[in-house]
């Protein structure tokens, strides 16, 4: 069945399907390694050397350096593994939610609280 290929794009959303997975395997593998504290320390000690081990692309490396979540998603990153990268630097799901939706953390939290009022 090929209907899945005719899916309409969803506003502000990138579905992590096979196409995205093919792009981001090395990047996701690197971020999965951050479950281990030892690996997180090694990454923090020398990001470039750590990235070298995983053969991520130059574009992925640049996006990792700038912790640019939207860009990392476009380059094939999956949010659950990316969260281990950003988590290492004290950024939680609300911090990166704010970053991706282009607002401050306070605005992001306020928007969610407002959704709770309705």
């Amino acid at each position: 069945m090929t209907e899945f290929r005719k899916d309409e794009p969803i506003s502000g959303t990138l579905i992590f399907d096979g196409n995205m997975a093919m792009k981001g395997y090395a990047l996701n593998k690197m971020c999965f390694s951050f479950n281990s504290a030892e690996n997180r320390d090694a990454f923090k000690a020398n990001e470039d050397a750590y990235c070298d081990q995983y053969e991520i692309t130059d574009a992925q490396r640049a996006a990792v350096k700038s912790r640019d979540v939207l860009e990392l998603l476009k380059l094939g990153g999956n949010i659950y593994y990316l969260a281990k990268l950003t988590g290492m630097f004290g950024l939680n799901m609300q911090d990166i939610g704010a970053q991706q939706s282009g607002v401050s953390l306070d605005e992001f939290k306020a928007k969610l609280l407002a959704a709770g009022e309705k």
């Binding site: 209907e3 506003s11 999965f32 479950n35 939207l70 969260a83 281990k84 799901m93 709770g116």
Partner: protein
């Protein structure tokens, strides 16, 4: 014979684990959420089930993209929690029930579900948060036994809502054919509507969640009209996790009574829900 007493649907947001660890249940932010669990705690205290079947998703602790199962079932004597990389303190291991695990696996494979069996398995917040929520007074030696049922909602394609409902029904049949006298409860976790990734991060959909909760007891097939792409649009790509509640619902069979329900936005980025369903026949 084993008996399925009822089912609980619940969100499994990591921040809840944090709130429990830091005793924030009475804070204004948290109180409207935790209050929804009071009927659940009363029911579990009264019923004292022997085994919980916990349906959840791993978020990149136990499984990676090199071996990503659609449905994985634990068969270990014990399940360990571990560092997920962003600060939650790992909890003590959870005791399993290997004979019932194997009975489930055998029954489901015979019913043509293509199960991935896991004789050793780390369980992440998707599992530990519901455990901490439902059994807040954790006494290790008297602990309920658990069987993890882990569903892929990480790498598209996810199983269809229909497949999830049928898996639930097959789990229900498997429990009923287990000879030992055990009282069993099933948990369906994750959701409800939320979106972690993309420009639309922070998206929720109260109307859709409310209808989902409304229909769950008496008309669970209502969700089957949506494919997973449509669900991602309506409830956010992570809101698709509600299909795991259908596994719980399917196991309960046709005759079900809703004992309690609560819904609260926001818990972190998520619209949090909890429902308690009792099997009446």
């Amino acid at each position: 014979m084993a008996k399925l007493l009822g089912g609980i649907g619940s969100s499994h947001v990591p921040a809840i684990g944090n709130a429990i660890e830091q005793n924030l249940q009475q804070d204004p932010y948290w109180q409207p959420f935790f209050t929804g669990y009071e009927p659940v705690w009363e029911w579990l205290e009264a019923k004292k089930p022997d085994v919980a079947i916990l349906v959840y998703n791993d978020h990149g602790l136990n499984f990676f993209l090199d071996k990503m199962p659609t449905f994985a079932i634990g068969a270990a004597a014990e399940y360990q929690n571990s560092d997920e990389g962003w600060g939650l303190k790992p909890l003590e291991p959870f005791p399993g029930h290997p004979p019932l695990s194997w009975h489930l696996i055998n029954s489901l494979v015979n019913d043509e579900f293509d199960i991935t069996s896991c004789q050793e398995m780390l369980v992440d917040h998707g599992f530990t948060v519901p455990m901490s929520l439902m059994w807040p007074n954790r006494i290790l030696t008297e602990q309920i036994k658990v069987i993890p049922v882990c569903v892929n909602v990480v790498q598209s394609p996810f199983p269809t809502a229909n497949r999830c409902l049928r898996l639930g029904e097959a789990i229900g049949r498997a429990i009923e054919s287990y000879e030992e006298d055990l009282d069993v409860v099933i948990l369906g976790t994750g959701g409800l509507s939320h979106q972690l990734d993309g420009e639309r991060a922070g998206f929720t959909n109260r109307a859709f969640d409310t209808e989902f909760l409304e229909k769950l007891a008496k008309e669970p097939e209502w969700l089957l009209q949506y494919n997973n792409h449509q669900l991602a649009e309506l409830a956010g790509p992570q809101g698709v996790e509600m299909i795991m509640w259908l596994i719980m619902r399917g196991a309960l069979g046709e005759n079900v009574k809703e004992l309690s329900r609560n819904y609260h936005i926001p818990i972190s980025n998520t619209a949090a829900g909890v429902i308690l369903l009792e099997k009446t026949a």
